[in-house]
């Protein structure tokens, strides 16, 4: 498992140079609430056909900063992005609420204060 730090501003460029569809399997987007309004976002990849090779890009952010969407690079990323929108109430370009919770729901269950 390798962890690489990135920022939301450079995310698209970083992933764009790193990701090759035939080499890397995109797993999911993950969010971890660190408390006090801070949140750690992770983009997780694994390599096809190689043992135990997992790469996690992570970036620190807060609830308000919009998160860039990876859909232009990885079309299947929309599911994970919709999930973090629902679960943390983040803003992701092009992803709406309503995957699990209602569209107008005020919940964001995985935030630490809720």
């Amino acid at each position: 498992m390798t962890k690489l730090e990135t920022t939301l501003a450079t995310l698209l460029a970083d992933i764009g140079t790193f990701y090759e569809p035939k080499k890397w399997h995109f797993l999911t987007v993950n969010g971890i609430d660190l408390g006090e309004g801070k949140i750690e976002l992770q983009w997780i990849f694994s390599k096809y056909g190689v043992k135990d090779e997992i790469v996690i890009y992570y970036a620190l952010s807060d609830y308000e900063t919009p998160v860039p969407s990876l859909v232009s690079l990885i079309p299947s990323a929309f599911m994970g992005e919709r999930e973090i929108v629902d679960m943390f109430g983040l803003k992701v370009d092009g992803a709406e609420r309503g995957l699990y919770l209602d569209e107008d729901s005020l919940q964001h269950p995985l935030r630490s204060e809720s």
Partner: protein
């Protein structure tokens, strides 16, 4: 005049085991657009794992995420927790865990095959596969005490041991089963109406499999060689005779065939395990509290199951992230539905073996 009609499928429909709602935009019966709503089963397990349950209980809670692959859920969580505790299981535990995971894979694949047959309108085949599947269910009941939702895996080992009588039963039932699977392979290959229904229907091309990150049998049917069983070193799968099954056409027929041949492979592996079971304790004491971050990938019947567990040294965990196979399979699924017939939709859907309770957690 409006040219299209909107056909709903779900959330309650006879061809669905679970609530998922599709809205197919159809021209006559040709699908031109799909909209899916997958949130019917959302319960909030991820939150409950960190708020309501202690880390020792979480293994039994995450098993309830999905009834079909319960064992892989509790296995992945347990592996992650054991990594955080710095504990390494002995060989006997590893082999027993592999045995149950492979048995679970056999019964899950058979259910999927039966369900695909039923949705293609082949009731007798459904009944036949369900009858054969009972052999595995009996085995699971004998080994673990329950037919589904067997809480077999605990942190530090497994809850039940294998006795010589059980080994004999495994051999007996699996021998019977492998004959029946051979018969099924012939049937799936040769039946004329099944070939109309399955061959060339619901095709996922290899490029699409790469683009949409397909996984599990779905990807292997399209020719994408990925299997978590060889991409992790948690279990010695190579030692017990694992081979990767690949097909190239990516249609329903190929997916069924990947499943059928994986069942054959799993039967061989189970018999190997039963023969070469190492000696050792089956449940060991673990000390300490989970601290740090661990990721685990396990090959569930539907594909890769991913757990990320983070603990802070307390009884309660900080974060349990569950990424289930169907969750990643949905983008590829939606792609396949386009430009196929509505009459095929239930069979295509069943051939993906979607698990909504996994997806929505």
């Amino acid at each position: 005049m409006k040219k299209t009609i909107q056909i709903p499928l779900g959330s309650q429909h006879i061809s669905l085991l679970e609530p998922i709602r599709f809205k197919f935009e159809c021209e006559n019966e040709k699908i031109i657009g799909v909209d899916a709503d997958v949130g019917f089963v959302h319960r909030g397990v991820e939150l409950a794992c960190t708020r309501s349950f202690e880390f020792k209980q979480v293994g039994y809670v995450v098993a309830r995420v999905c009834g079909l692959c319960a064992i892989t859920h509790s296995l992945s969580y347990t592996l992650a927790a054991e990594k955080l505790l710095g504990y390494e299981a002995n060989d006997r535990i590893k082999y027993l865990r592999m045995l149950m995971v492979e048995l679970d894979r056999i019964h899950s694949h058979m259910l999927c095959l039966a369900h695909t047959a039923e949705n293609a309108g082949f009731e007798a085949l459904f009944m036949q596969i369900m009858a054969d599947r009972e052999l595995v269910m009996d085995l699971q009941e004998a080994i673990s005490g329950n037919r589904v939702q067997f809480d077999f895996i605990a942190i530090g080992g497994v809850n039940r041991d294998l006795t010589p009588e059980l080994t004999a039963l495994i051999h007996k039932n699996l021998t019977l089963l492998s004959e029946k699977i051979d018969a099924l392979i012939g049937l799936f290959n040769n039946n004329w109406s099944l070939s109309l229904k399955y061959k060339g229907v619901g095709v996922l091309r290899l490029e699409d499999a790469y683009t949409y990150n397909a996984l599990g049998p779905l990807a292997r049917a399209a020719g994408l060689a990925t299997d978590v069983r060889v991409e992790t070193s948690d279990f010695p799968y190579e030692d017990i005779g694992y081979t990767m099954i690949l097909e190239s056409t990516g249609d329903i027929h190929a997916r069924n065939f990947v499943r059928l041949r994986e069942i054959v492979n799993s039967i061989a592996m189970c018999r190997n395990i039963a023969d070469n079971l190492p000696a050792g304790e089956i449940l060991e004491k673990t000390k300490g509290k989970p601290k740090g971050e661990a990721v685990v990938r396990v090959e569930a019947p539907r594909g890769e199951l991913f757990y990320l567990v983070r603990g802070n040294g307390g009884n309660m965990l900080e974060r349990v992230r569950i990424k289930t196979p169907t969750f990643s399979g949905i983008p590829a699924m939606m792609e396949v539905f386009k430009s196929s017939e509505y009459a095929d939709a239930p069979a295509i859907l069943a051939s993906f073996d979607p698990c909504m309770s996994c997806t929505a957690k």
